[in-house]
Symmetry: D3
Subunit: 154 residues, 6 copies
């Protein structure tokens, strides 16, 4: 039986923080599924196709990383994908409170699914997609905050 | 003089977390007024009539629980209802920071009104209305997260 | 059946923060028992007799406030005293995390005991007994931080 | 070389909390630039002109306080204004987590810019613009929460 | 190459919280080393021999769990044991802040070592060894808070 | 009138975190007084003479940095030194809660004294003197965590 993890998010856009978590978690799992949630209630900033393409490009050399789009509950995606783990990065204690609620509810819905957390590295702790969008909107240079090869042009 | 408490919220929808707080607080007060805030700026997910009806149904056997809809400041509702207490449940420390701000401002506006907090029980700490809506929207089963008799059908 | 609350602490020394919580909680309960924990493992700064006498003096005019010393678990004291409530003040979110752990464990040991929280008033949020002891030890004037009549002399 | 600080915000509306931070920080800097961010994505509650006029009125007697409107990144405004410091008030630990992220990203973009924090005074800790708007919308009296002379009429 | 994790602590005493984390993490690793830190500066409550024996007893049926005592840095133990992972349970956001500091410093000392976190289950969130010791010292029944078979007698 | 700041601590030992705060705050003040608190109740790990000498050595080239030892309240030291500011570094939100309490009490004792906070840089956020002592005690290499020239030998 394989150890498969789902790494869910909106990746709007993927940041070097996401990239670091996935790469560091790879030795722990047989496969990591990067799962882009399609949320009908929240409009995304970058189009879904772009967001998916950026992630695929970043992980092209990593055969054990797969990218999917999903519209159901994360735990239902896990079941469908035979994934026993949800992978998450932890940045701040505000993050933690939020993640704990989600993780505990997920576990109540499917006892066998565990959420596994890695820490963001210190120099990436301040970073999230929302800050990247803010900088982008205000005409700042976001290239240092997204993985190499992600071409967010002005 | 009676001890009356107002339990304010949007109850969109009522959860087993709300239900537990109200039932556990009942011995402490002569009456608890469950007060559904009508917020013109934030659209609710479930219609007001449904939200009210669910709460009335859950507390039908409890003569000392009353359900009202209000559109003013919570402290003004308290004055009108001759309630000296605002009842709130505490789940996480993020909750606490938010509740403290509201509680202290309320007290600055009406010195005599106290906010009284009970803890959510551990197995309900992760739960809130927003998570219930998310599960519902994604086609999950919410029946374990709302009081018995609340018929949120798919 | 009466509503009795235990307000436990080491009161080393009692502060205006404690005083404020007790006075504001009095209308909610029939009796409040201020319970000084005698901890064999932690040496107190002020002698037990002094700490008890200060509290008795502050609440002498309040017939529904009682002062006791105890050496057992707080929930066992509650049972002995027929108290269904533990009263606590909440200052900061660090406080909250700690109080939540204690409150939930107490509830696991005795299902019927509820912890009821009031907020400290804003101007008293920063205050605790440990800060008062620090100021005292360094020769500062603590009179504004302890209830009127508490004569902590230099 | 002068010490210039930028105090950024949306000031929707300015509160006595903002006023207190600016006045208390004045001895530390040669000039404080109150910078109203014009955010195309978030609709403000009060019109920009009103928000600007209120601040100008409050600080009319303070020659070292200047008011500007900006639409770029805060760090870019700093460079343009030759300001080495960003001034911020800290209220709660939720605030702190947020401010730390912003502050660290700002520093990554412009190494030489420091964020300097002052504490809100205890009685103003609970206050922010969003609470003032809520009270205003619900017909409450906001005059005690905004600086003298700010005429938010009902 | 095997995935080995170290689960460090003082286990004074082991709780059902520790037990739950280790059992739930077992499918993720090839071996988990429960490592009891011998701290010359902090006196333990229960003797080292007892603490070790209790853990060995609980995990006797689990061939992939090993128990060791160590006196060096946790990262140095990892290197000696060829463990690439440190396993930790997360309970509260206070926990998280502390664990993040330790985790980040460990990573600065040995780049290749990752800390992996699992959440405590909701009903165990309030529990830690210090609370168990408190209950024990006060003559309370700790049997529900420690793994089956751990015979902490009064 | 000059802007003088006191930077209080036990500096047991001084870390690169302390060093960074002081150097970055220097342009903001005319003088920074590094003040080593002599606490009769808490035994230090490194001798006072050593701690003082290390700081003097690090800041020898900085004429506007002064090192003192004090045994009174920090606010009383400020008055004696004619310092209107207390300088502090902020690392985590746990730090913040603690610093806010101290800062607000200090302000209640001496209205004119402001506490000014700078953020630690991300890569130093995890670091504090207690972690350095732990590493040292366990035979680890602390040289990267203390300023250049501080010779903590094994």
């Amino acid at each position: 039986m394989n150890n498969i993890a789902v790494f869910p998010g909106s990746f709007d856009p993927i940041t070097t923080g996401h990239e670091s978590i996935i790469k560091r978690a790879l030795p722990l799992f047989d496969k990591i599924i990067v799962a882009i949630g399609k949320n009908q209630n929240k409009k995304s900033f970058f189009p879904l196709e772009k967001r998916k393409q950026w992630i695929e490009q970043v992980f092209a050399p990593y055969k054990r990383v797969e990218v999917v789009v999903y519209e159901c509950l994360t735990v239902d995606l896990c079941k469908k994908m035979k994934a026993r783990y949800i992978l998450r990065g932890l940045r701040t204690s505000a993050d933690f409170e939020f993640e704990r609620s989600i993780g505990q509810i997920n576990k109540q819905m499917h006892r066998s699914i565990e959420t596994v957390f890695l820490l963001t590295t210190p120099e990436l702790t301040a970073l999230n997609s929302s800050i990247v969008r803010d900088i982008y909107r205000n005409g700042g240079d976001v290239s240092r905050f997204v993985p190499k090869g992600v071409d967010i042009k002005m």
